[in-house]
Amino acid sequence: MAMTSFAVEENDGRDRGGPRQPLLTVQGLKKHFPIRGGIFGRVSARVRAVDGISFAVRKGETLGIVGESGCGKSTVARLLMRLIMPDAGEQIFDGDAVGERGGISVAEMRRQVQMVFQDSASSLNPRMPVQNSIAFGPIALGTRQAEAIGMARELLVKVGLNPALFGGRYPHELSGGQKQRINIARALAMKPRMIILDEAVSALDKSVEAQVLNLLQALKRDLNLTYIFISHDLGVVRWISDRVMVMYLGEVVEIGPADALYASPRHPYTRALLASRPALDPDQRREEAPVSGDPPNPINPPAGCRFHTRCPHAEAVCSARAPMLSAGGDDAHLAACHMQDPSSGHSQALRH
């Protein structure tokens, strides 16, 4: 880890704040999607997709984001790229506020942050040879066509595809794994410092997934990249991430170093998630699900702690007050649970 930070400091002229300054800091990010109804299109309800989340990504690390479907993981990715506009929140990229006076513009941020999408089929233009898809960004920002195509072909080599064979092909002529390599090459074409991988390997079969994960690790090392790795696959997230953030219904419930979080999860939801992984040992197989039911509707999330409707430890305080992310002894490992806080009034609080 320290080696990587050192390398970043030495090699990248765009690094402004030094290795200690987080590459990305997010404060109170919020997005509520309005649901309109009636003849005048009045807002009848709001989906609280992302409801005030804060986190930081250090230079050179991989932050994993996990959670059930619909917890807001992908919305976070799109908000960070400003593909959808946040309702509230602050985004600071290497010391510069994004899209604010005195900071950097959204366009400048996008030159340094790129994204790889989940659906490899719809994320490439079906009418464009893949090398043109890769070269589009640089060309649009002023690189000469021939030069950009040349660079795209070099990137194809970098992601393990022979440009003479694959450069002129169309997306439908490639397999899922090959398309995802193209998507990675397209993100790299912008020479980003950070890549957001939104379920980037989830749609691939296991052997191809492993190849792409190895490729991602190699690229990160060679190009001093920082990753945000979004997935619902706990095993993959643990393997690739330095730190992991767990989301539930648009909120962060736990964030901490991957090893610590997997070894001693602090939030009951994280414990339930980890327990829901299929056991490799047939004797350890579970009969009943560790957490039952579906997540509550994000249109009308439960009051207090959002997990209290499914939590085995729920008490009166849980539905009365929302817990804050708190340390409980370890500053790097935070969880939003009343049982973390001795002063919360939860009967099991002191046991932690």
């Binding site: 996008r110 079906p126 003479a164």
Partner: protein, 300 residues
Amino acid sequence: MSTAVSDTAAPDAAELALPTQRGYWGTVGYRLRYDHVTLFFGALLLLIILAAVAAPLLAPFDPYQESIIRRLKPPGYQDRYWLGTDELGRDMLSRLLHGGRITLTMGILPVIIATLIGGSLGVLAGFAGGVVNMSIMRVMDVFYAFPSVLLAVAISGAMGGGAVNGMIALTLVFIPPLCRVAETATTQVRNLDFVDAARATGAPMHLVVRHHVIGNVLGPILIYASSLVSVAIILASGLSFLGLGVKPPDPDWGLMLNALRQAIYVSPLVAAMPGIAILITSISMNLVSDGLRAAMDVRS
């Protein structure tokens, strides 16, 4: 994974410098070469257009030359009137050739202009969404609410007859449906991830639209537009019939079809000729555009 070996084979410098094997239009041309139906009807269409353009050179007679004694003669009359004569004794071949100029212009020009205007508005509405979409599409809905014949008659009637005003009226009639087709196609494409990926590069909007949206919505728009050409020819003839489009004695296929209606029992072959001309032209148009769409669809 069998491709793993070839995937990772390190190419040498020469391979890196190689250009693409075949560009987009190269692929389209290559496919068209083997599409015999499209080639045949494309040639036919070209022939019709060339014949119309060269009408003054090709026509054996003056298309306005009337004669009382040789009215409604069958094809082959006197070995000189190959396609017979019409109700005023004018040579049908000459009139069909000259009529092609007016009819094709009335059929194609309004559709081209309406495709440009309606297509752009539709792409804009579909890509921008929100208030822009609302205001454009609601205006289109107002026009769309009228039957197209009624709208064409009302517009050209208000502007006074004549071929030019008729074409303006047809253009206005075709803008709303083309706009709607373009808007629907654009809305679908806009929500695909590759458009988001293009936006995420920070590229200006007009480049995102030009490179990633237009190519993917052009297919449905062109197909629809080509089907409108035959509608335009029919509508134009309807306007002429009402005295709002082309005026007699100018030869126009639609006008000729209307004028020869009464002769259908006397000389059915001659009466059918303008209709056959319209039919062949619009079928060729539809088949060529269908073939073009298939050739331009790189997925197939």
